[in-house]
Amino acid sequence: MADDVQKSIVLDFTYTTDTYDQFTQAEIYGKAITKMAEDNKDIVVLTSDMTRSNKTGDFKKTFPERFFNFGIAEANMFAASAGMAVCGKIPFVTTFAVFASLRCAEMIRTDIAYPNLPVRIIATHAGLSQGNGGTTHHSTEDIAILRSMANMTVIVPADSIETGKAVMATATLPGPVYIRIGRALEPMAYPDDNYDYQIGKAVIMRDYGKDAAVIACGVAVKAACDAADELKEKGVKIRVVNMHTIKPLDIDALMKAARDTGKIVTAEEHSIVGGLAGAVSEALTEAGVAVKFKRLGVPDIFSAIGYPDELYARYKINKNGIAETVKDIVS
């Protein structure tokens, strides 16, 4: 429809929801940094033999002198990005989330977070998005690890639109950022990009009533929205909060949801230990706000092998799983 055609405020190309649907989060990231790098000569991109997976090819083609392939040596790449940042560059470092957060945890913590350097870690193929790639490639601990590092900002965009906005929002952030994105064409949570995105400010996606609130991030946001729509038809009216920034957490939005509803469900493509659920429960406990509370995500086990949709169903971070859980908690 002609009405849907707008000029994107972030990426400067004409889009519709359909257009965005054609791009994965990684592809949008690739486009966003290429756009940003036109104005900001300090932006450099580092990858570890993953140009194709990480969709940084546009940048490589446009700015070959600012593109660095470190081969299959992620630790060296992250430490080198610190060296570049010390000397004034803004490195976007891109690899799979599982390698960034586990193999390179110390380089990120000691070389990047400790000196508070403006390195942007774009962690792709996060959560269960590698599906039958298997448990070695699933990243279900990364939010917990990264958010425990001082100085670090942790962002989990809901879809491609939000990925573009999040990447662009890092332009003036002085410290390090971890942006965690998926692999494939995850369904869009937003109808368009006509909304105000601020790091650390949650977005209320649905506000049907005060029966319960789902606090979600990443792919779980769209699932939570679908669950809310379905539940509404059945007379259960909930709020869906897109907590796209895990750190710093939007305490105000969380407390409002908790006080308004008294029932909180968290949903994330991550272990239920230490991630979004951990951040939310810490904040609620410290504030002395008692709620009925349920964590959805990978329980304290290693994830199974399967297609992402099958895994989302298994761990109840799809529409049905979230809807069932909400029904349980409100009953």
Partner: protein
């Protein structure tokens, strides 16, 4: 005095030996304030860091943020006690600051923090990181078309770390002749001789195989250090340089030399005095 105003080679070498003797005395003094220090590795690297800071590096006295300065990374971060006095002496901060070494909220601990110590180009402490950081710095110099160099000082046991062997090929692959790495080859790591714990020889052959230019020298011979630093290629050169500085752990304090128990230790007043006497006695003969 700097190389530019030195009158003769002999005067230069005497000047550098004086600085090294002063630095060894500072290490002993600060270890008393700190309640303990990495004495062995601090004393082994003293001549090397003096040659690098007072002879090789392009720096501006008193200006730790000068954009075109050469960079230095103390990859063996536990050598902080032999590093921070040099930064003070370069005029980057008041030497009085050093009197807080290891105290609560001091800028100085056993490993250097770039956010707290003016002139410190990188926070270090976890071994094996420095060369990778140097690769990033050197790439930046290339990108910005700058001629400054990156010096990085590693411990010998440190090159057991796997990341060093990710950085070594990256430096030659990216043609980073603006990197000068130095290994403080004192042959002892915490538990004893490196060749018994996890062998690293033949160092020179290994690094040459990774595409580096290697100099293998006596790391306590100021003349050899100066001559080697004179042979550094222009920073535009494609081949990174490694200097294997053969040193003695605890050098200058005879009861510490070659004994790994002095890797980290405290000194009482009597031992401090004894160490300072040794340092005076061990100073190389004056040439002028």
């Amino acid at each position: 005095m700097h190389k530019k105003d030195s009158k003769s080679r002999d005067q230069l070498l005497d000047y550098l030996d004086d600085k090294a003797e002063w630095l060894r005395r500072e290490i002993i003094r600060l270890s008393s304030i700190a309640g303990g220090a990495h004495l062995g590795g601090g004393l082994s690297m003293a001549d090397v860091i003096v040659a690098v800071y007072y002879y090789a590096m392009n720096l501006k006295q008193g200006d730790p943020t000068w954009a075109d300065r050469d960079r230095f990374i103390l990859s063996k971060g536990h050598g902080a006690v032999a590093y921070c006095p040099v930064l003070a002496d370069q005029g980057f901060f008041s030497p009085d600051w050093l009197n807080t070494f290891n105290n609560l909220d001091s800028p100085f601990g056993m490993h250097p923090d770039m956010k707290k110590i003016p002139g410190c180009d990188m926070s270090t402490g976890s071994l094996g990181h420095g060369l990778s950081v140097a690769v990033g710095m050197a790439l930046t110099a290339r990108l910005d078309k700058k001629s400054w160099r990156v010096f990085v000082l590693m411990g010998d046991g440190e090159i057991n770390e796997g990341m060093v062997w990710e950085a070594a090929p990256a430096a030659s692959h990216f043609k980073l002749g603006n990197i000068v790495a130095i290994i403080d080859r004192n042959t002892l790591s915490l538990d004893g001789p490196t060749e018994e714990i996890m062998a690293i020889e033949p160092i020179a052959k290994r690094w040459e195989a990774f595409g580096w230019r290697v100099f293998d020298i006596d790391g306590h011979d100021m003349g050899a250090l100066v001559d080697t630093l004179d042979k550094l290629p222009p920073s535009s050169d494609p081949t990174p340089t490694l200097i294997v500085a053969r040193t003695v752990k605890g050098k200058g304090v005879d009861f510490m030399e070659n004994n790994p128990i002095w890797h980290y230790a405290g000194l009482d007043k009597a031992k401090s005095a004894e160490a300072l006497t040794c340092i005076g006695n061990c100073r190389p003969k004056r040439r002028t």
